[in-house]
Symmetry: C2
Subunit: 342 residues, 2 copies
DNA sequence: GCGGTAACAGACAACGATTACAGTACCTCC
DNA sequence: GGAGGTACTGTAATCGTTGTCTGTTACCGC
């Protein structure tokens, strides 16, 4: 690899002139320099630039698991925004482990100018690692304990859960179950509260045994669904509060040979990749995914482009709307027959 | 951020001693240095290290589209291997564009020690960008024109297509259609040849109108499927040669209200995320995904850890086996009735 | 012809780490 | 006591770039 010194020598000027030429300043020998650059196939060394300038021109993106289509979509949204900019993306996975997240954050704060983080768990308070380094951070999907410390992009979890509850109520369901996430996460809490409170507002108290927790993963959703579908009286509708648990739920329904929506209505928070192609197609709460990532990246860019002496700006918190996507997996309560029987 | 000089000052030693301490050499004042390091929360600046050592401790991973679950799985496999190593991962997307791939490669060759590349298209010969930089590259899934230039990890496309053809033949199908990929890609060619040749070997010539091309994307698969399902006589079985086109195919089948496998058997190359949960569950050619990524990363690590003066090693080409996963979407040819009718 | 001022030039010092080199202390052994 | 070895130390050069500082030149108006 040739260096700026090689170019300078070939063009018969100083390295300073080459540097100036590269940064677009007027330079007398610009023709000779340009010629030398192409001849030597010169590309400035990004590492040296970073050392000198103190900016790495990289951002770090930390997700729990890239194979989760939701996270992949967020990353895609981020990439769409970075596309024409100067920033490259470091991608790291935490596997939902607080310890690993700690390591990853420590590593990336040294290598990146800014971070987009989907926290693994909320106990794993990222403030400790992140505050001292002073680099800007945007949280996506989940929030940190100290909401005001970082910019964040989240969705209206409470509202989404309310939409789900209202939809099921409208269909006439009363024995309604939910598969929630851990209540020590904001997302878990909000979706739980939004759902339970809406039911309560309609005078329906959810049976304790119908209030399951599935750990936001496929297996947890599957086990929870098995318990729900085996309970008597069984729920006539089940709301799963994230995509992975919905997959577990569908697997359980499938294995038990239970018909949807004739015997039980099911719906999820988050669409599935093939949600529309399932039989019946999945009713769900839809939320923006790529748009969430894109928005997070724009927030981050705004921070990165701020001059160092700019007055500190308060953390921005963006809440994105979700919508109800009614397809075939929810239907009227299979009431009369089933009810009369007992 | 504190520097090695700060630590040295606080510990009352030279920067050289601190550096030696950090690299594990015996140092007299190691206690004072350790204390100073923790007190100042010292973390060595990776950029400075890179500049000095000439190694960035990063690798670049270039995929066409991270929202494709197959590519996401490959990335996951790569991450699993990097987990405990010193390497960080730059992730870039090419959006299947040769031009964008060109830019990305140019950018990453300057910032990474090695590259794992899933080429966007094969016309976009990556050799031109990559050869001069001398950094090791491993190709995944698709190959470059000059096979011997780079390590690669691919799957047995021909064998997979053969398995698919044999499966359909065993079920008694004769009017068999395929939705292939572009024939200017190795993958497209191999899957096409494997399928067509196997049919021919059984004395079955595929109708020209049943030999569709779907561009390896959802829309292409959908359009091709519409044409196939509308053709007369319609095929009794359709083989789609990648996951995206399979989604398009399923969408078309769904919209037209055609029953599988009663009216038409469908199968795909690559499993789908929810393939097992579809009704009927999807028969497909299964291939390793995360394992492909992990293997690629190990190949790359081997190159990266080679001393600079090592004798040049020939390119390694690894072909991974695929398997047939029979589920419900393929069945016996709906023969008698349909056949007799004409 | 001269002072003043653009408009550019090159030398050199950073940025933060590593490492070759050249000490310097201390110990051992004759 | 001195030679020679061991075990460490600090100084300074280096990686490739950029920005500051200090020229140097050309051209302007008077």
């Amino acid at each position: 690899m040739s260096t700026i010194a090689d170019v300078a020598r070939l063009a018969g000027v100083s390295t300073a002139s080459v540097s100036r030429y590269l940064s677009g300043q007027r330079v007398r020998e610009h023709e000779a320099i340009e010629k030398a650059c192409t001849e030597l196939r010169y590309r400035p060394n990004p590492t040296a630039r970073s050392l000198r300038s103190g900016r790495t021109r990289s951002i770090g993106v930390v997700v729990p698991d890239i194979t989760n289509p939701y996270y992949a979509a967020v990353v895609k949204g981020i990439q769409d925004v970075t596309l024409d900019g100067p920033y490259n993306v470091f991608l790291s996975g935490t596997e939902e482990s607080a310890e690993r997240q700690h390591d990853v954050l420590l590593e990336l704060t040294g290598r990146a100018d800014g971070l987009i983080l989907i926290p693994a768990t909320e106990q794993s308070e990222p403030s400790r690692e992140l505050r001292p380094s002073r680099i800007p951070v945007v949280l996506v999907d989940r929030e940190a304990e100290d909401v005001h410390a970082f910019d964040s992009v989240v969705v209206d979890n409470t509202g989404g859960a309310r939409l789900a509850a209202e939809h099921l109520l409208e269909l006439g369901h009363e024995r309604i179950a939910m598969i929630g996430g851990p209540l020590n996460t904001t997302v878990g809490r909000e979706r739980h509260a939004g759902f339970v409170d809406t039911l309560a507002g309609a005078g329906i108290e959810m049976d304790r045994s119908h209030d399951e927790e599935g750990g936001f993963n496929v297996e947890g959703g599957y086990q929870a669904a098995l318990r729900l579908l085996g309970s008597r009286p069984a729920p006539t509708a089940i709301f799963s509060t994230n995509n992975l648990m919905t997959i577990g739920l569908l697997r359980a329904v499938n294995e038990l040979g239970i018909r949807t929506p004739d015997e039980v209505s099911v719906m999820g928070f988050d669409d599935l990749d093939l949600g529309a192609l399932l039989t019946p197609p999945l009713t769900c709460i839809d939320r923006p995914t790529e748009a969430q990532g894109a928005l997070a990246m724009r927030l981050l860019l705004r921070r990165l482009e701020e001059p160092d002496d700019a007055p500190p700006r308060k953390a921005t918190r963006i809440v994105m709307d979700v919508s109800l996507n009614v397809r075939g997996s929810t239907g009227p309560v299979p009431a009369p027959a089933a009810k009369r029987r007992r």
